[in-house]
């Protein structure tokens, strides 16, 4: 009892049942017949198109998940690269701020020393200290310059890697898009061809059946038989010609589309590559000019150490003390402004990197979505074609069941012991359906 309930429930809940109306009872009493529909379907003239759908779905599932998986892997790689770049940028900014601080300290000390000299105040051992400071400043300046050059080289390298990766991802995206366009058109044309084939077969079905019935009559004389055969042949030719003509047109359409897509891919890739390269070049130039600006400042001169300033300032005349305080405030202000510019640069870089990070995620999701949508669409078309083919097979089987006096014909039994197997005969009929 429960199995019936379960099944009704299943259909009631999911409204899942897709039925194909069985034919009217051919005979109230008679042998049982059966049909293995999935065997017959392999003989259907449209089977190659059904198989093509299956193949495309498989290809897209593999290829579709592949670009998705590849995109995922690629995105992760790029995200890691961006994270590293961000870390590098932060490190560089810190180092730069440190260098700037030292640079401003030296310049301030130099200015104070000059102010002291001008005020007639000489610090103890000022000459010796100045020499030492000059040497230290030179060493530090050279080190800072080397460090900056190293940073620049690293930046240049990471930019090149990122550039390559971006180019490769872009190339894949453009190619995938073109492939999808081509496949979609191919599917559309296939569906159109299948529809025409079915339409022609349905249109001629009655006439074909009448001719076949006529031909199977033993009483038919030779002339009438020849005539019927000729008409049947003419029907076959007419259908084949119509489908053939459409196929030729479709082949040309696809060839033209392929040429167009190839040209488009080339043009798109060229344009995108130019954009990516020019963007990378601009970044590099910016960084280089920053570097030049930072280290093109006058060579640092030896001066009194800033640390000595407060002690010295205690015994200075008020005017000189004010002058020194003013100098200190001035350099402090300059340093703050310069440091702020460096920090702003870093913030811009961080923002740019964050945007790219977000864009990567979005691109990944879109790529995956495209493939899934296309698989779903193909599956729908495939199912529609399958249903149409099954309808046709069932019509043929119903005619045959009438002719053979079968009481009932079922499809796809698990096992058949004493029934009439219609599979091969229906397969033969279906094979000649569109000949």
């Amino acid at each position: 009892m429960n199995r019936g309930l379960a099944l009704v429930a299943l259909c009631a809940l999911a409204a899942c049942a897709k039925t194909v109306a069985p034919g009217t009872a051919p005979s109230s009493s008679g042998p049982i017949g059966y049909l293995r529909i999935d065997d017959v379907i392999k003989h259907h003239p449209l089977y190659s198109q059904l198989a093509q759908y299956d193949q495309n779905i498989d290809a897209l599932s593999l290829g579709g998940t592949v670009p998705h998986a590849v995109a995922g892997a690629e995105v992760k790689k790029q995200q890691a690269q961006i994270a590293k770049e961000l870390q590098d940028a932060a490190n560089r900014t810190r180092a730069l701020l440190d260098q700037k601080q030292k640079q401003y300290q030296f310049r301030e000390a130099q200015a104070i020393r000059q102010a002291l000299k001008a005020g007639g105040v000489s610090a103890p051992g000022a000459g010796a200290v100045a020499t030492q400071v000059t040497q230290t400043a030179g060493v530090q300046s050279a080190e800072a310059s080397r460090g900056a050059q190293r940073d620049f080289a690293i930046y240049q390298k990471s930019l090149a890697t990122q550039n390559e990766s971006e180019l490769s991802a872009m190339q894949r995206t453009i190619t995938d898009k073109a492939n999808r366009t081509y496949r979609a058109e191919q599917d559309r044309l296939q569906a159109k061809e299948a529809a025409l084939t079915l339409d022609l077969a349905n249109k001629d079905a009655a006439e074909r059946l009448a001719l076949k019935t006529k031909l199977s009559s033993l009483a038919l004389d030779d002339t009438a038989r020849q005539d019927a055969r000729a008409k049947l042949d003419a029907l076959d030719r007419s259908e084949a010609d119509a489908v053939g003509a459409m196929r030729n047109r479709d082949t040309q359409t696809l060839a033209a589309l392929q040429t167009q897509l190839r040209a488009q891919v080339q043009a798109d890739m060229k344009a995108q590559a130019a954009t990516i390269n020019s963007r990378a070049l601009a970044k590099l130039q910016n960084r280089e000019s920053d570097l030049r600006r930072q280290f093109a400042a006058p060579a640092m001169q030896s001066t009194a150490l800033t640390a000595a300033k407060p002690a010295a300032a205690q015994n200075l005349p008020p005017a000189l003390r004010d002058r020194i305080a003013h100098l200190h405030a001035d350099y402090q202000k300059q340093f703050t402004a310069d440091a702020q510019a460096t920090i702003d640069d870093f913030q811009k870089t961080r923002l740019d990197l964050s945007r790219r990070y977000a864009a990567l995620g979005g691109a990944d999701a879109a790529a995956g979505g495209d493939a899934r949508d296309q698989i779903a669409s193909l599956q729908r078309k495939r199912d529609e074609l399958y249903d149409q083919m099954v309808e046709q097979i069932k019509r043929e089987a119903t005619t045959m069941a009438h002719e053979r006096g079968l009481s009932v014909v079922v499809s796809n039994p698990v096992a058949e012991i004493r029934g009439v197997d219609l599979t091969d005969d229906v397969a033969k009929d279906v094979e000649t359906l569109h000949e």
Partner: protein, 265 residues
């Protein structure tokens, strides 16, 4: 899609089975069928469906709110609880309707001397359509009267696919094949990634399909053959003409599942 993706019995139906000439075929007059889709569209079922759907939406909102911030284990527990509550509601709404439908089907089958009622979806031609009779009974104000006699012995048998799938030998074969397919999927995906031209991709796909077919022939086919043999033997012993999958039988029929599972263990 690959044929081995379908359940074993479904796949076995595709293969060549024991066939008999028409002369040996027994006359059958007692097979009826029902269009379950038409029955499920009856107002009583549609209303129950609507109520279940509304209940599901409300319950879903409640559980989604409760799942927020819950651990994975708690979320799993909540999911089980959700399913259990949905099943209870389903039983509450559909139980009486389905019992009534089952009595109506049995009653019509009995009055028409039908030994088995199958799903319309597998009927290609012929058979006795009892859908309208059942519908009349279900829409009448009074409850249908259960038949006095049990259904007559039927020449149509059935097997429970899920029970057969659980036979260790078959389960192992299916799992082995599933594992193989997963590995092939990954490998084919890698190759697709490396493929540069369309012909490269076609070749990858061809190899992929061949590998699955070969493995299916090696791992699944022997088990399928054995299952088919067991079903045919059991059917012959019970004098059956035809064996269908259990999901296609609505009423009556002879269950030979245990005979089959017993012989292939």
């Amino acid at each position: 899609m690959n044929k081995y993706r379908f359940p074993i019995i479904a796949a076995s139906a595709l293969a060549v089975l024991i066939s008999a000439p028409a002369a040996l075929a027994a006359d059958v007059t007692d097979i009826g069928f029902v269009d379950q889709e038409a029955l499920s569209a009856l107002p009583s079922f549609a209303s129950a469906n609507r109520q279940l759907s509304e209940y599901g939406q409300t319950l879903n909102r409640q559980f989604t709110a409760r799942a927020k911030g819950a651990s994975q284990a708690q979320q799993q527990k909540l999911q089980q609880q959700f399913q259990s509550e949905m099943q209870q509601k389903q039983q509450q709404l559909f139980g009486p309707l389905l019992s009534k439908a089952q009595v109506a089907i049995a009653s019509v089958a009995s009055s028409k001397n039908l030994s088995v009622i199958i799903d319309k979806r597998i009927v290609v031609a012929g058979g006795v359509d009892i859908t309208s009779n059942v519908r009349d009974l279900l829409t009448s104000p009074s409850d249908p009267v259960p038949p006095v006699a049990t259904p007559p012995p039927s020449s149509v048998g059935y097997v429970d696919q899920s029970a057969i799938d659980n036979v260790p030998k078959i389960k192992t074969a299916e799992q082995d094949f599933a594992t193989f397919r997963q590995s092939e999927d990954r490998s084919a995906q890698d190759k697709m990634k490396a493929a540069k031209t369309q012909s490269d991709r076609d070749a990858v796909l061809k190899d992929y399909r061949k590998a699955l077919d070969d493995e299916g022939t090696k791992v699944v086919k022997p088990v399928l053959d054995e299952t088919r043999g067991a079903i045919a033997d059991a059917a012959k012993k019970k004098g059956l003409s035809l064996v269908l999958d259990r999901s296609m039988i609505i009423f009556g029929g002879t269950d030979i599942t245990s005979d089959v599972t017993g012989s292939i263990k």
